[in-house]
């Protein structure tokens, strides 16, 4: 059987070799990253990583695929969006759908009881792509989670704090994004409060998840549309639907909402512990300096099955960007590790919707560069080793080699007899700040020319001093740029 497969492959190959060219297409919903994009993305990822590191988190990574059964039964209705691998013999595998279930599996596999970790990686969803809004089938998530048994609501508060810090730091990088990214709010709610509300309103236990999903659509749909889903499709009494509406349409600042829920004697006795959770959370978030961005929103339900306590979502609030919606979300999931292990490891975490943020970030970086009449510098080259005259490739190579040895980023022209003009143009286009020019006559005197493009200054330097001369010039440029 193995041989048959092989023969088939060979036949296929021959067939494909016959047709000269095939279309060079990227799969639907996936994309390439060009050098400029990579430079911008790496800048954003560095900012995110810096915040995670600053909070003492450690990095982990997991395989891009998991056993199919690891992912089964974790995502509710969204399970249909999971990518499966073909059955080519051996285990049945699926591409990871998020970084949360792999974390739970990871904690179980390695018998870890507490961990503050981040994970920046790609996840996969067979969803309808909406490229303009930053929704892809392959996309990065930046997750920060705290696993372990700790003082009540303390890790929950730090997770929200981290989310705010990331958004703040991304916003200050340039004044362009600041306009958009700094106007975010964190909507918070608690699964325990929601469950009590549904119970109080008379929702049967087996319909709670479905009603919860319906209510979660209130950020995109009107109440009348959600109400008719509850009544017509989920089959609840209109009276129950209206009672649900009297709760879930409420959003307010944390203290006012908390007071009004405490005053609701029936609810406050049923949801006492969840209300206390929220009270504690608001106190801690005040201590952490991020109390002001909170909205207590009773319609926030979150689609995923695994949340058990606090839930939250960061949303952009600028009018022009309402379409971007959620740019980060998370919550507490105390029972997910139990599904893989006999031990219980309570967890809370958040996932940054980095692709949506990057859509804004990229546009802003490009706008910024354009406004300065520059392009985004994708390379890190500091020096172009140029030459005048023939048969200079070897000389350019020798000099470049000395620069590399001195830890200077350098390129040399790959042409046989490059024109000085072209070399200069290349340096300008690629924003390479320095040019070393090797000429035959100078070389005989043991000299080369060093040109600083920003100031157009040029001087002869002793060939043997070139590394230190370049380092000096780079320092001067740096000082000028910083001041």
């Amino acid at each position: 059987e193995a041989i048959d497969r092989n023969e088939l492959e060979v036949a296929c190959e021959e067939l494909s070799n016959m047709k000269r060219t095939m279309k060079a297409k990227v799969p639907k919903g996936a994309r390439d990253f060009l050098p400029e994009q990579m430079a911008i993305r790496e800048k954003a990822f560095r900012i995110v990583t810096k915040v995670f590191d600053r909070h003492g988190a450690v990095a982990i990574d997991t395989p891009v695929f998991e056993l199919k059964e690891t992912l089964t039964g974790k995502y509710g209705e969204d399970s249909k969006l999971i990518y499966d691998l073909a059955d080519q013999g051996g285990e049945l595998l699926s591409l990871r759908y998020d970084l949360t279930v792999p974390l739970a599996r990871f904690l179980a596999t390695h018998k870890i009881n507490n961990l503050k970790r981040y994970h920046i990686s790609r996840v996969y969803r067979r969803d309808n792509p909406a490229i303009q809004r930053g929704r892809f089938r392959e996309f990065y998530q930046c997750d920060f989670d705290i696993a372990g048994t700790f003082a009540r609501m303390v890790p929950d508060a730090e997770v929200i704090k981290v989310l705010c810090e990331v958004l703040d730091e991304l916003a200050v990088v340039s004044s362009f994004h600041a306009k958009v990214l700094s106007s975010y709010k964190i909507k918070v709610n608690h699964r325990g409060i929601l469950d009590s509300i549904f119970e109080l309103c008379g929702v049967p236990k087996e319909k709670m998840r479905a009603i919860s999903s319906a209510v979660d659509k209130l950020d995109k749909e009107s109440w009348s549309s959600v109400r008719s889903e509850i009544v017509e499709r989920k089959g609840l009494d209109p009276f129950i639907a209206d009672k649900i509406g009297s709760y879930v349409l409420r959003r307010d600042n944390p203290q006012r909402m908390l007071s009004s829920l405490y005053e609701d004697s029936q609810l406050s006795s049923m949801a006492r512990s969840s209300l206390e959770d929220m009270e504690l959370l608001f106190k801690y978030l005040g201590d952490l300096g991020v109390g002001d961005c909170l909205i207590f929103d009773l319609s926030l339900a979150r689609g995923l099955d695994y949340y058990t306590g606090l839930i939250f979502e960061a949303v952009l609030t600028t009018d022009s960007n309402t379409s971007l919606g959620s740019i980060g979300a998370g919550g507490r999931y105390d029972n997910l590790v139990d599904m893989f292990s006999s031990r219980s490891v309570p967890c809370v975490g958040c996932s940054l919707g980095i692709e949506r943020i990057l859509t804004i970030f990229e546009a802003a970086e490009k706008e910024w560069a354009t406004s300065l009449g520059r392009k985004i510098k994708a390379n890190k080259t500091q020096v172009l080793v140029a030459s005048i005259g023939e048969q200079m490739i070897g000389e350019r190579m020798k000099l470049a080699n000395e620069l590399w040895k001195g830890n200077i980023a350098a390129e040399f022209s790959y042409a046989e007899k490059p024109k000085l003009n072209k070399q200069l143009q290349h340096a300008l286009e690629e924003e390479i700040p320095l040019l070393v020019i090797i000429g035959e006559d100078e070389l005989k005197k043991g000299m080369v020319n060093l040109k600083i493009l920003a100031t157009n200054e040029q001087r002869e330097v002793n060939r043997t001093d070139i590394v230190s001369a370049i380092k000096q010039a780079l320092n001067l440029i740096q000082v000028a740029a910083d001041s």
Copy 2:
């Protein structure tokens, strides 16, 4: 049909929810990376990236999956190792097998005619894993390639230079790896020379690729075994096999091999241009200071179909590590982009076998840490905010928040009433250098304690000066570490 699928999923979920725990298993040949491993790997990747950046290369990325047809017909016999995705409707996809074919597709898709790029990402092969030797089904490759039409053999020389620099830089990081990693050699050969040898020996054109694959096994198998493959399985005359053997068993230093091949009048007239390529390469590699590590090895053939000119392979030469074999390889592939495009874009590049290198690197880093009685520090935390007494969570949070604002990496204890002992122990275990201790009495005076763990020095600091006091202390520790 969409609804059926959904119902099936829901049924599966319910079934899986019933069985309480499932095994937490990582797919065969894949693995998790724990925090310590991540820290070591990131260190290695930083070194690799630094070298690539120093040569002016830009980063790109491509999707983890490609259209199945993009990968078909590129890998010869190895095509059977490609992972396919399940057909869930829509396009047929496969996981990328290397980073070279995606680069060719990328150049065609974006109509790019020249590019010096690196790509550090995971690739997938349904091979038999050999974990001890660093062979996995999911693994990283670090590729550096130069695409475009340039002076003959110039980019080829820089690619080999880059490979040597990466290996050298990884080796100097600690004296432990230096022992192993610094003893590498670069085997070089040329497809044009090989083809001429086969033609000269009387190998029929249609069997050249098969004979080439057989010859490539000479680094692992004896000549008598390869000879019998050529004679018995590929059906060549024993006389032809022996003539092949008289060539491919030869390896020598570049100049001697070159002279002897030029002296072979029949071969040198058939392979003139390829021999000149190699002569030029050796001259340039001399100029670039890496002439000494070269072996001209006529048995080197490389399995992949797409090479058209220079081929090379970096091997470890220490006796104890011969099992590790190839740690990097590459060559020139001038026709691969043609398969996706009407334009021709000649390319040359190398792929670093980073997992094999990381196996050595990890072992060495751990040995180094153990010899110092330390563990690998996976977090970047600089300060632990500790407290004495009750109800101090809020105070710890407020202080930690000030440190984060000051860009200091800080953690605080998550316990309700943490014991000072435990907090100190945590700092020591996690190699956190500084401890800020908040006590009730000190706080009333507006003071806190700052403790430097390395020196056991402790002093009272004004609560309002804590950020600058910590920065000072961190500088002192850094200076001590550097000297």
